[in-house]
């Protein structure tokens, strides 16, 4: 089994930039996987000394975080070659419990931080954990531009359809007919279809899962990390405290049951009429394109071309 807790040797403490080397996930040695539902394995990726975490009882954020960690474990992600960036909000607080290189950045800007990190060190595996308020409202512009650039960052957007940390205000994902502290008479605006948004913007791996379908979510996240390009996973999850109490069903179990009932696989959705799909959550891998050039690889190719030109010119001059 890959020992992800082993620190780097002294000679490796300040590794040089290995642009486009694709280290990290791809070069980690083959992990010896335990059963996927055995959560003990992911503890090595957690600062368990920081527990208890801040999330409420019944919250789905831990479920999604655990799915990410199991995917990370199955890929043998190295702690010293993986950087996880969060924004601000309940979901982004996950980074404070993860034993990777972690950045708890500012509201909405996690993807901008991550873009800088990935461009500076393309060999890192860069993951962004964000929420629907953080990623789709204040950070919406960065989301579409990161997708457009097709930079090799995996973004997991925890969509609980509410601002939880600030006390239940409406997010762009709250959607019509729902209530929030800032929408006491209901929301008049439609929500984004985030997956279609990022696909249109240029993301090359787009998937949706729920905190009910954790095995599926784990597979989707694993595929996203393996994918070279901008990967986006919308993880629909329950917030019983702030969303549930104003928008029945109230209990976490009832909310999960609702996800189960409304989820429909990509495959099944193909045979369904648009009216049948209304209000349903289409889950699974929605879009994947391996042909589009990835940003850091493209940038490295440009640097290599310039280096070659310089060498050629240098030789010509001598």
């Amino acid at each position: 089994m890959t020992d992800v807790t082993e620190p780097l040797g002294p000679d490796e403490q300040h590794p040089p930039v290995e642009r486009g080397s694709g280290a990290g996930a791809a070069t980690a040695t083959e992990p010896d996987l335990g059963p996927p539902d055995d959560d003990r394995g992911i503890e090595q990726y957690l600062h368990t000394d920081r527990f208890p975490h801040i999330w409420c009882p019944g919250c789905g954020l831990g479920t999604v975080t655990a799915a990410f960690l199991r995917a990370a474990l199955s890929l043998g992600l190295r702690k010293d070659r993986t950087v996880v960036v969060g924004g601000i909000g309940c979901s982004s607080r996950a980074v404070g419990y993860l034993d990777f290189g972690t950045v708890h950045s500012i509201h909405g800007r996690a993807l901008a931080f991550a873009t800088g990190i990935k461009m500076a060190h393309p060999e890192f595996t860069v993951i962004v954990l964000t929420g629907d308020g953080d990623g789709a409202a204040i950070g919406g512009n960065h989301l579409i531009h990161a997708a457009r650039r097709n930079i090799d960052i995996t973004t997991i957007l925890f969509n609980n359809m509410i601002y939880g940390m600030t006390g239940g205000q409406a997010s762009p994902q709250t959607g019509p007919d729902h209530q929030a502290t800032t929408a006491p008479f209901g929301v008049a605006e439609p929500a984004f279809d985030l997956c279609r948004l990022v696909e249109a913007a240029g993301a090359t791996y787009v998937a949706r899962g729920t905190s009910y379908g954790v095995r599926q979510l784990e597979r989707l996240i694993r595929g996203a990390i393996e994918h070279k390009g901008f990967s986006f996973i919308e993880a629909v999850t329950q917030c019983p405290t702030e969303f549930g109490k104003r928008n029945p069903p109230k209990s976490p179990v009832a909310m999960l049951e609702e996800f189960k009932a409304s989820a429909v696989s990509v495959k099944a959705a193909r045979d369904m009429a648009p009216e049948e799909l209304k209000g349903r959550l289409i889950t699974g891998l929605l879009h994947k394109d391996e042909e589009v050039p990835e940003l850091t690889a493209g940038y490295e190719a440009m640097l290599a071309r310039l280096r070659a030109e310089r060498e050629r010119d240098g030789e010509g001059g001598s």
Binding site: P7, L8, Q13, H14, P15, R19, H47, R50, K79, D80, R81, V83, V85, V95, G96, D99, F100, G101, T102, V103, H104, S105, I106, R109, A112, F113, A114, T115, G116, I117, M119, A120, H121, F124, N141, H142, H145, Y299, M302, L303, L306, R307, R310
Partner: protein, 392 residues
């Protein structure tokens, strides 16, 4: 010194010196100081810095990124900085406003970073191609909360080069953002410029010999060890108040201690950070304290005053913050009047007044019509003050 004018030399193959634009000089100074990461967004009158970086950085295997806005630009720079890259961005007033939240993050997370703000008239869109010094207080207090600031002000093309270098050095050493203020005149003017000429601009406060340690400076470890993502050293970075482990704390004692340390690392190094130049020291009853393009007028005014027998001395400040308290007070003790010409309504005059009013009379000479303050105006003001004093 081979390292620090490599880029300039590439341009001066056929000439001993050449006309270099201020913005261009800033970019070259950054490159020579070791900046290898730039993320920016176009804005007048600073865009040339970005354009030079776009062209030069790929040639030294650096990273250039044009981001979707100024917020993304500074955040990308902070991200790169946290991995150990030497990062910089450049902007003007409106963009600088957008960067303020992230500047606070960089202060809190102790991420080295250089931000060049080529000031233009404001507020809002103002007059984009007109010089101003209206962002002095924004540079000091733009981001929320109690925080330290290191702010430098460039007055000519050589300054743009060497102060950008100094900013890189200060940022790395004190592990925080450093702001270089220029104004539209300094950014867009072209002056005769060569490495030798840079060396000739000696400062009273001393050391502008950029040795190698300035390019790869040792880090100050007075607060917390530096972040280096990609190693297992101090791997968690947050904008929350945190303790020595890097993790958040709500402990009142630790919170106060941490914020105090952020301040102290700047304030306790005023000797090193405060760059200045005194002309005609002790020769005047009136001192002109100036920075940026107004310092050029002040220096020229000195010559006029000399010819006309008006007792004047000039304190040219290159560092606006931390406040050069001792330096200003020393001048204040020996003159009867201090006048501060600046292209705003007295933003820095207020600071000088706070430092100097126990010893002398401080007079603001602000101008906000988009024109420069001329040497003649400064001399006339000084003459009137002295004359008024004599007749009293």
């Amino acid at each position: 010194m081979e390292l620090w004018y490599t880029h300039l030399l590439r341009e001066t193959i056929d000439q001993d010196s050449l006309l270099v634009q201020g913005n261009r000089a800033s970019a070259l100074g950054a490159l020579d100081a070791g900046v290898r990461f730039f993320a920016g967004y176009p804005i007048t009158p600073s865009s040339e810095i970005m354009e030079v970086m776009a062209r030069e950085l790929p040639l030294v295997d650096g990273v250039f990124l044009q981001m979707e806005d100024e917020i993304a630009s500074i955040c990308a720079c902070i991200g790169a900085s946290l991995t150990g890259e030497v990062a910089m961005t450049a902007t003007s007033g409106p963009g600088f406003s957008l960067m303020q939240e992230a500047l606070g993050y960089a202060i809190m997370a102790e991420a080295p970073l250089v931000v060049v703000n080529v000031m233009r008239m404001g507020p809002s869109t103002g007059r984009p191609t007109t010089p101003s010094q209206g962002d002095v207080m924004q540079a000091r207090w733009g981001t929320h909360g109690d925080h330290p600031a290191i702010v430098l002000a460039a007055s000519n093309v050589a300054d743009m080069y060497r102060l950008t270098m100094a900013a890189v050095r200060f940022a790395q050493r004190f592990r925080m953002p450093v702001i270089v203020l220029a104004d539209e005149i300094v950014g867009h003017m072209r002056e005769s410029f060569s490495p030798e000429l840079v060396g000739r601009y000696r400062l009273t406060s001393g050391d502008f010999d950029f040795t190698e340690t300035y390019v790869h400076p040792e880090r100050v470890r007075e607060v917390h060890p530096p972040h280096e993502l990609g190693t297992l050293l101090h791997p968690h970075v947050t904008g929350l108040i945190h303790d020595e482990t890097g993790f958040p704390t709500n402990d009142p004692e630790k919170s106060a201690e941490f914020l105090r340390e952020l301040h102290d690392k700047v304030v306790h190094h005023r000797d090193e950070l405060c760059l200045y130049d005194v002309k005609n020291q002790g020769g005047g009853r009136v001192a002109v304290i100036a920075y940026g393009s107004c310092a050029r007028s002040a220096r020229a005014a000195l010559k006029l005053a000399e010819a006309e027998g008006i007792p004047l001395e000039v304190l040219h400040l290159y560092t606006l913050f931390p406040l050069p308290v001792e330096i200003v007070q020393e001048v204040a003790r020996r003159v009867e009047f201090i006048i501060i010409p600046e292209l705003n309504l007295g933003q820095y005059a207020r600071e000088v007044r706070r430092m100097a009013e126990n010893w002398t009379t401080v007079i603001s000479m602000g101008r906000i019509d988009g024109n420069l303050i001329t040497p003649r105006e400064i001399v006339d003001r000084a003459a009137a003050l002295v004359g008024k004093y004599e007749s009293a």
